[in-house]
Each structure stands twice: as structure tokens, then as C-alpha cells.
């Protein structure tokens, strides 16, 4: 990029995430962010499933770091987290998985975690290892900009995007502050509640999107409760991407083998992605 932006000096170079969202905007397509719990039910299975998701057209993959007390998650991702922990998955393992995936794919990768495992690894250590492994960004469910001063400085220093969330309860001036702390994209929580599949999009989603649009030029991704092609279709033209998590995790959990899981996840991504206006990557 030859133009300078007002933030150029303090911003890390655009990551795979920024580049992918720029491509999506140019093409006028809705992006699909796929959440999958790492290590569910094993790291090898995760590798296979994530690669299939990328192949099927996921624009960004969020790798969930399993945690013992996932207070922001509903039953589907809670169970996935338990399966991954029972298999012994640690944050170190997830970082190795990232490195392994990076050797096979250029799909933008976001680590999706609760704060404590990262804190215990040490922020510096975590940031360095995540960047070296080839992660592009990090999203921490129980960390807001207020508590994230050091975290942001260290992660940005390592060239990682810091993605924060805005919720339906977030007033507009707070959204501005959250957007200023964010890079890559801004994650909009569609409804008050925990992760999980829902029948329809909430009615007040439009108001949240409008508040966010006024507050920032960052790409917007909407998640929590998005499970079906019609949800994705309704978001076209409203935001930059839809985040789908529990629906994919549930699909994988129903499968009899990792090959079946990969296939089922890929099939759902294809149908969601075509609802968003584009077919699989060439």
C-alpha cells in the first residue's frame, strides 16, 4: 500500500485478515468466519477439519483454545472444549497446530481464547510464539480494552491483530473505543447471550450494526447464533462477514470419523458461503 493512513506509524503491517477483508470488499461479497474448537476431538482431526473448511471457502478460521470454564459459551462449544481438554490439548498444542496449518494453507487464522491460558503462558512468550507459528490475530472473550493495555502493545508489537467485541449492550461511544483498540475486524455479538445456534437473527441487530458503522471503518463481522444460509443471506450488504461456530462444531461432533467431520463441515461452509454470494475458492 502506498497511501499513508493516519495510524500508519503505530499499526502493524496488514495481516492476512486485513488483506482478505479488502478482497471481500472489492468483490462485494460477504465473508465467512468459521469457528472450530482446536483439539476437538484431537489435534489431528482439527487439522483435517480446518483445512477442509479453508478449502470450502472459509475466509477466516477462528481456532478456539479450549478452556475449563468457558463462561461465554453455550452447551455445544462447552462440550467441544471438554472433549479437547480430555484429549490433553494445551495452548502450546494449539500454537503447534497453527504452525502445522500454516505449512499447508494461507487461510487467515485467529486464536479465540479466554484470557487465563494466555496470561499463564506470559504475554510476550505467547505473542512471539503465535506470530512465529503464523497466526494473524487474537480474540480474547473475557478481555475488554480497559484491561488490555499491555496485551495490545505486546501483540501489536508482534504483528498480530487484536480483535475486540462489541455487544448489543455497548453504547456508541464505547464502540468507538473498542474499535480504536481493534485491528483486522470488529466482532459484533449479535445478541445478549452465550454462543449457540438460534432460529433467527435478533430484531435489534440492525441498530447495533448502524452504531458500529458510525463508529468505525473497520470490517464488521457478526457472530453468536448464526447457523443457517438464510441468516447469512440476511447479512449480505449489512456487514463484512458472518461468524459461524456452534453449527460447525455440532456438525463435526455428529460425524463418525474425522474424515466425515471434515466433509460435513465443508458441506455446511459451502452452503453458507454460497448464501453469502460466492462459491468455493478456485
Amino acid at each position: 500500500m502506498s497511501q499513508t493512513t493516519p495510524f500508519a506509524a503505530s499499526e502493524p503491517a496488514t495481516t492476512r485478515i486485513g488483506r482478505r477483508f479488502a478482497e471481500l470488499r472489492r468483490a462485494g461479497e460477504l465473508g465467512l468466519v468459521a469457528y472450530l474448537t482446536a483439539g476437538d476431538p484431537s489435534l489431528a482431526a482439527s487439522r483435517e477439519i480446518v483445512l477442509a473448511a479453508a478449502q470450502a471457502g472459509a475466509d477466516v478460521v477462528e481456532l478456539g483454545v479450549p478452556f475449563s470454564d468457558p463462561i461465554a459459551d453455550g452447551p455445544v462449544i462447552q462440550r467441544a472444549s471438554e472433549r479437547a481438554l480430555r484429549a490433553g490439548t494445551t495452548l502450546s498444542d494449539v500454537l503447534e497446530l497453527v504452525a502445522d496449518l500454516r505449512r499447508a494453507s494461507q487461510v487467515p487464522l485467529v486464536l479465540f481464547s479466554y484470557f487465563n491460558p494466555i496470561l499463564q503462558m506470559g504475554l510476550e512468550n505467547f505473542a512471539r510464539r503465535a506470530a512465529e507459528a503464523g497466526a494473524d490475530g487474537v480474540l480474547v472473550t473475557d478481555l475488554t480494552p480497559e484491561e488490555a493495555g499491555e496485551y495490545r502493545r505486546i501483540l501489536r508489537g508482534a504483528g498480530l491483530d487484536t480483535i475486540f467485541l462489541a455487544a448489543p449492550t455497548t453504547p456508541e461511544e464505547r464502540i468507538e473505543r473498542i474499535a480504536q483498540a481493534s485491528s483486522g475486524f470488529l466482532y459484533l455479538i449479535s445478541r445478549t447471550g452465550v454462543t449457540g445456534q438460534r432460529d433467527r437473527l435478533p430484531e435489534d441487530l440492525g441498530a447495533l450494526v448502524e452504531r458500529a458503522r458510525r463508529a468505525t471503518a473497520l470490517p464488521l463481522a457478526v457472530g453468536f447464533g448464526i447457523a443457517r444460509p438464510e441468516h447469512v443471506r440476511a447479512l449480505v450488504g449489512q456487514v463484512d462477514a458472518a461468524v459461524v461456530g456452534s453449527a460447525l462444531v455440532a456438525e463435526a461432533a455428529r460425524a463418525a470419523s474425522s474424515a466425515d467431520a471434515a466433509q460435513a463441515v465443508a458441506a455446511l461452509i459451502l452452503s453458507l458461503k454460497s448464501a453469502g454470494g460466492r462459491s468455493a475458492h478456485p
Partner: protein, 403 residues
């Protein structure tokens, strides 16, 4: 800054480095609303009058400070006074906080109250206050705790509360708090989360302390009248830390008064066998600073940052994290923390029953166990106040096994 110098958390809700607000974004604006609501209530004389009236005429404050004559004689050490929180309505100190927060919920226009409970005492107190104020009440409780504190489950249901069993993780207090937080994040616009200990994101640790500090204020006044001087030592059990901070707070500036918190030593020193977060010096493994349920504090966890399961015979102490103000008092050396194990607590309960005619809650029995261990070596002219945080009716199934 000394611990005595910081009686109020800073603007970010921290006691020293501990505390803060580590929650999903959905809860940030509601926590700010709660902070404002609490500040407004504190400044409102009518709120104070109403709370005072309920504390006196409904809950039974002030509670006596009783000289435990036969226990003192038996141990041959310091004069031991019992702060009789067990005599409060519903049988434990928990009602102090529930009345305060219940009135706050009402003042903030929230008609639905949710709570977590371990021993069931906080759940019973919440259900009681909800009934008294005409509010809807849902209590989350681990299924393991529902089993071992069955009496309290029936009490909550009789009081009109819905008790929801939580079957995740260790099926104890930690999991009940997680589930209550999930409910809150979902129903945050209509619901008040009445957290039951000096835990969680700011302003809860502060607010819970403020509603319990009446314990220490009364005790300070009572001991000055009874003995003409301040006590040498205060002893309280520490689950999340509400009864302990309630007793300690009024004495924090009195440098001659030693503060002793007693955690659950469970059945061993290895991680998973106990619930001792601040008693590392006594050999209990696995506690390090980290983030759980909204606060930065000492937490029992694995090297990878997964929260450990815990064990205690007492459901109210069986939790992996400790209130941030206790982490701060410990770090500053202002308070000392140690642990008593399951067997010592059971023995202590029997001793108090037979010397004083009081059956204590198993939680309170931990504090008693440590005092029983230390008292014989302490000078007779010293004075000790022990917070008898609750009565033992709820624990009769467990205590009966040791008859």
C-alpha cells in the same frame, strides 16, 4: 502504599494488582450501571434506613459477641469470643449481603434475581430476600453440592426459588458461578446477578464487603465494651472471602490486630485435593495469580492455565479462586492465610458442639479448627474473635457420619 492505606479499590476496581473487570463485553455496560446504582444507593439516606430496618427487624442484627468460656478453658489459651453470625435469620452471615444487594436490585428496577450457591446458604438467603421483596429468583447450584446440602435445596424451593442443577465440571461452586454468569449475559437487561461472596468483577468485591462490614463494626464496638481494648487476633474462614472481609474490614487500620484467614485444606496438599489459594506457604500446591470469573486473583490452576477442580468437605469453601482483596491483604502481609483440613474441621465442629452447645457450619468449623490448633500456645491474656459465620443444620447429613 500500605494495605491499611488502601481501603477502597482504585478506579479500575483493583486492590493493588488484584481485582479488575475481566468479563465478556456484553457485561461491561451492565457492570458500569451496577457501579453507578451502588454509588447512588450509598448516597441515599432512605436506602440506608430501609437496609438498617431489615437488618435489625428481619435478619436479627446486631448479632451477639459471646465469650466462649468453656472452649477458652478447655484450650487454656487466649479468651475466645464468638461473633454469632450463625444466629442471623437463615443461619449464616450471607443474609447481610443479600439484603443489601436485594434492595439495590429493587432500586435499579430489576425484578428477576439470579444467584449461585455452594453450601446453599447464599442461595437460601437470596431466596429469602427475593420472597421478602417480591422478586423472582433463580439459583444455580452444582449437582454435587445439591446432593451434600440437600436441606438447603428444599429450603430454597419452599421459599419459591427455582433451583437449577449444574452438571458441568466439578459440579460445585465454580460451575454454579459460570452458569449464573451465562444466565446474566443472556438476560442482562432484566436480571440482577446477586453474587454471594467478595468475588467476581468490580464492583462486586467492594459491594459485598460494604454490605458485610457491619460484622466488624459491631464486633469492634462489642469487644471494646467487653474487654476495654482491641483484640489481638481475628479468625475467619475464607471461601470467596465475604465473612472474613466483613469481620476484618473495621480492624484493618488497627496494626496491633492480627488477621487470620483459614481456607479449606481438604484431604491433601496436591492440586485438586484442597481449596487453599493463599496458604501456599503451608505447602498447598497449585495456586498462582490468574483470571477467573471476572477478577485477577490467586487461582488453583494447572501450569497451562486450566482451572483446577478442588476438594473440601465444606461446599462453601470448595472453590478455586479467592476474593481479590484477600489476595492483596496477603501480598501486603497485612493478613495471614492458612488452611485446616477436612478431619480437623469435623473435629472442631464436634468440640464446639460439646463445649459451647453450638453446632457450627462446616465452613466456620475450619476457622475454629485452626484456632483450636493455635490457642494452647498463645498467651492467656490475649483476646481472639472468631467469626462463627453459620450454623451447622445444613451439614447434619455429613456430621452424622462421624457420630
Amino acid at each position: 502504599m500500605s494495605a491499611a492505606g488502601q481501603l477502597w479499590p482504585d478506579a479500575t476496581g483493583r486492590f493493588g494488582p488484584y481485582g479488575g473487570r475481566y468479563v465478556p463485553e456484553t457485561l461491561m455496560a451492565p457492570l458500569e450501571e451496577l457501579e453507578r446504582g451502588f454509588a447512588a444507593a450509598r448516597a441515599d439516606a432512605a436506602f440506608a434506613r430501609r437496609l438498617d430496618d431489615l437488618l435489625h427487624n428481619f435478619a436479627g442484627r446486631p448479632t451477639p459477641l459471646q465469650l466462649a468460656e468453656r472452649l477458652t478453658a478447655k484450650l487454656g489459651g487466649p479468651r475466645i469470643y464468638l461473633k454469632r453470625e450463625d444466629l442471623l435469620h437463615t443461619g449464616a452471615h450471607k443474609i447481610n449481603n443479600c439484603l443489601g444487594q436485594g434492595l439495590l436490585a429493587e432500586r435499579m428496577g430489576k425484578r428477576r434475581i439470579i444467584a449461585e450457591t455452594g453450601a446453599g446458604q447464599h442461595g437460601v438467603a437470596t431466596a429469602t430476600v427475593a420472597a421478602r421483596l417480591g422478586l423472582e429468583c433463580v439459583v444455580y447450584m452444582g449437582t454435587e453440592d445439591m446432593e451434600r446440602q440437600r436441606l438447603n435445596v428444599s429450603r430454597m424451593r419452599l421459599l419459591g426459588a427455582e433451583v437449577v442443577g449444574v452438571d458441568a465440571g466439578s459440579r460445585t461452586l465454580k460451575d454454579a458461578i459460570s452458569e449464573a454468569m451465562r444466565d446474566w449475559v443472556t438476560n442482562v437487561r432484566t436480571t440482577y446477578y446477586l453474587l454471594g461472596s467478595a468475588l467476581g468483577p468490580h464492583p462486586y468485591p467492594l459491594m459485598v464487603r460494604e454490605f458485610h462490614k457491619v460484622i466488624g463494626i459491631e464486633a469492634r464496638d462489642q469487644i471494646l465494651r467487653a474487654e476495654g481494648r482491641l483484640p489481638d487476633l481475628l479468625v475467619a474462614c475464607v471461601g470467596g472471602g465475604s465473612n472474613a472481609i466483613g469481620l476484618f474490614h473495621a480492624f484493618i487500620g488497627d496494626s496491633t490486630v492480627r488477621l487470620l484467614g483459614v481456607e479449606a485444606g481438604g484431604r491433601g496438599h496436591a492440586l485438586g485435593e484442597h481449596a487453599a489459594r493463599l496458604a501456599g506457604a503451608a505447602g498447598y500446591e497449585g495456586a498462582r495469580p490468574g483470571v477467573l470469573h471476572g477478577a485477577f486473583t490467586y487461582i488453583l490452576q494447572t501450569a497451562e492455565g486450566q482451572i483446577s477442580t478442588t476438594h473440601s468437605v465444606s461446599a462453601g469453601l470448595d472453590y478455586a479462586a479467592v476474593g481479590p482483596e484477600h489476595a492483596w491483604l496477603s501480598g501486603e502481609g497485612r493478613a495471614e492465610y492458612t488452611a485446616a483440613d477436612d478431619d480437623a474441621a469435623i473435629d472442631a465442629a464436634r468440640t464446639l458442639a460439646r463445649t459451647e452447645g453450638i453446632i457450627p457450619a462446616l465452613e466456620s468449623a475450619h476457622a475454629l479448627a485452626e484456632l483450636i490448633r493455635r490457642a494452647p500456645a498463645m498467651p492467656r491474656e490475649q483476646v481472639v474473635i472468631l467469626n462463627l459465620s453459620g450454623r451447622g443444620d445444613k451439614d447434619m447429613d455429613i456430621l452424622a457420619r462421624y457420630l
